[in-house]
């Protein structure tokens, strides 16, 4: 009996290991996100209410980075868990990911010991900040058909410097490690850019898109564009002398400490102590197509929880080329997701594309 038990163990151990191995293989192919019909109202409050229990989660490991900024101390990898619901008008997403640091200190003004003000910035070798920035999430959606997107996801629009420091033959040394653009005219990607400082306090996502432009003379951000807007946005909070802030918030309440919002905006009056911070940016809600995705993100105990919603079908200016349209609930919608940890452009991403289907 004793020998039999030992024999069983000897056979069981490799069997379990093989099962674990096969399980890992099975997980590797997990790239499907189902969107389920919501049975109750979803409130965008950054908390996963019971209604979300109906949706099956997709968890994706993000562990790739596009370049190595000299001053980047953020995450090298994280896991993002996504759920989706929909109703007659809207599609909803719940995003949750671990991030040990809540990073909101984006280019703040800081009062110096001598009474002057200094805007805090710390740029890397490419001219982008990874110290005084904000946490962000990017979601790319294929609009129509984009070469390579269904297989490679966001990577299909990613172009990095070659060994001569050029992208599409244009010198980018010290400017940008990479640029976003699609291959052909007519190929566009919807880019949902959640920004924890600039738009989260206003309950919006910065809705952008990527097209085929690869000439900085035509667009300084190459293929990246903001959606059509009728108003709103964010501008630097800087005085005419360019040596301090022009405005400030009436109160510093935690969430709104790093951007000046319309409800809080007041003329800057310097009653501050050395070391105090004042927002370096001012935000007003986008109106028009650029402001047609609503969201709320909350950081708690090392985790961001973000709820967002958008109309299944948008009708704004140029919506057909700037927004993915969920107008066929039997279709598969391809997308990719990445997380920015206090970084301007460095982001943690996954390889390949993810697939959204409506259930």
């Amino acid at each position: 009996m004793k020998i039999f038990t030992k024999a069983k163990l000897a056979i069981l151990c490799p069997a379990l290991a093989v099962c674990a191995m096969q399980s890992t293989v099975a997980q590797a192919a997990n790239d499907q996100l189902g969107s389920y019909k919501a049975s109750s109202t979803i409130t965008l409050d950054g908390a996963a209410e019971a209604a979300w229990d109906k949706a099956t989660a997709l968890t994706v490991k993000l562990d790739n980075l596009p370049y190595k900024p000299g001053n980047y101390n953020g995450m090298q990898e994280t896991k993002i868990t996504m759920k989706s619901l929909y109703d007659d008008q809207y599609v909803y997403f719940l995003l949750e990911y671990s991030d040990p640091t809540k990073s909101l200190v984006r280019y703040p003004w800081q009062k110096q010991a001598d009474g002057s003000w200094k805007q805090l910035k710390d740029k890397d070798q490419t001219g982008h900040d990874n110290v005084y920035y904000e946490d962000k999430v990017g979601i790319f959606w294929q609009i129509g058909k984009v070469r390579g997107f269904e297989k490679k996801g966001c990577d299909s629009a990613c172009h990095m410097q070659d060994d001569d420091g050029k992208i599409a033959g244009i010198d980018q040394k010290g400017k940008a490690p990479g640029r976003k653009y699609t291959r052909r005219a007519g190929e566009t990607i919807d880019m949902w850019h959640w920004k924890s400082v600039r738009m989260n306090p206003l309950g919006l996502i910065d809705d952008q898109f990527v097209d085929h432009i690869k000439d900085p003379k035509m667009n300084k951000n190459w293929g990246r564009h903001g959606d059509a807007k009728t108003g709103g946005g964010y501008v630097a909070n800087i005085n005419a002398a360019k040596n301090g802030p022009a405005f400030m918030n009436r109160t510093q309440d935690g969430l709104n400490d790093y951007t000046v919002t319309p409800a809080q905006k007041t003329t800057f009056v310097d009653t501050f102590n050395a070391g105090d911070l004042v927002p370096g940016i001012m935000s007003t809600p986008f109106t028009g197509s650029r402001g047609d995705i609503w969201s709320t993100g909350v950081w708690n105990d090392g985790k961001w929880t973000i709820e967002l919603k958008r109309k299944l079908v948008t009708t704004g200016d140029k919506a057909d080329i700037q927004d993915v349209q969920f107008n066929d609930l039997k279709k598969t919608y391809y997308f990719g997701v990445s997380v920015f940890d206090n970084s301007q452009i460095n982001h943690i991403y996954h390889e390949g594309s993810l697939k959204l289907t409506f259930k």
């Binding site: 000897a10 490799p14 290991a17 192919a29 562990d63 410097q161 070659d162």
Partner: protein, 245 residues
């Protein structure tokens, strides 16, 4: 001496080795299944077209069809690269306009001396015609083949000789022992030989697949049978007549 007469500690140690061998070989099989399968379907039985691509196609094309397939935007891109190589891999307008576009889009982000992307392969830049020309020979280059062949032959021999000896000292019928030991070694030689011969005919890809399967099966079977022989009572019809001990 028989396996089942070894003392408890000897059987324990040998079992640890044999279990590790089984896991290692099954891991290799899993890797092969993933590399040579359709990527959208996860782990599958390897596809012969992908095996042929690896060993008979130019290395650049073979990699695009197998291990690097996930980075290739469209299957048509592979055909364009294959056409360029078939027509002499010239540094002409087709190369500059068509081939380099695909290389820039699908490969160069990682295959660049200055790349800092996760997974960058800075030692294998694809920046020029000269860089790419190194990977246009059919199958592995002779240098790469010699390197891979000696690593596989010497590495596999080390554990195969121990598994073979364990099998030789088991209580099984001589015909079982001789068959499995011979199968392991012959399959190893056939597998490696077929790598070389596939450069001349892609039909040898079938030999690679068959020999690899036999090799894995023989090693797993010998290791498994030795474990059974050490720990449980094996049916008498499988044992040599004088193996009552």
């Amino acid at each position: 001496m028989r396996l089942n007469t070894l003392n408890y500690q000897a059987r324990l140690g040998l079992s640890g080795f044999l279990i590790s061998v089984i896991l290692g070989v099954l891991s290799a099989a899993t890797l092969i299944g993933l590399v040579y399968s359709k990527h959208e379907s996860g782990f599958q039985i390897p596809e012969m077209d992908k095996v042929k691509a690896k060993y008979s196609d130019p290395r650049l094309v073979g990699s695009m069809r197998t291990s690097m397939y996930k980075h290739v935007a469209e299957d048509g891109d592979i055909d364009i690269i294959a056409k360029w190589i078939d027509e002499g891999a010239k540094d002409d307008a087709f190369f500059k306009e068509e081939v380099m576009y695909i290389i820039e889009e699908d490969c160069q982000k990682c295959h660049s001396k200055s790349s800092e992307m996760s997974g960058a392969i800075t030692s294998m830049p694809f920046s020029s015609h000269e860089d790419l020309l190194k990977y246009t020979d059919k199958g592995y280059t002779w240098t790469h083949m010699a390197k891979m062949a000696h690593i596989h032959l010497l590495g596999i021999s080390v554990f195969l000789v121990i598994v073979s000896l364990a099998m030789a000292f088991s209580s099984y019928l001589g015909v079982i022992k001789t068959t499995l030991i011979s199968a392991g070694w012959v399959a190893l030689w056939l597998d490696i030989s077929a790598w070389w011969l596939s450069k001349f005919s892609d039909q040898f890809a079938y030999v690679i697949a068959a020999a690899g399967t036999v090799e894995i099966a023989a090693v797993v079977a010998m290791s498994g049978l030795c474990l059974l022989n050490m720990w449980i009572k094996v049916p008498a019809f499988l044992l040599e007549e004088n193996a009552s001990d």
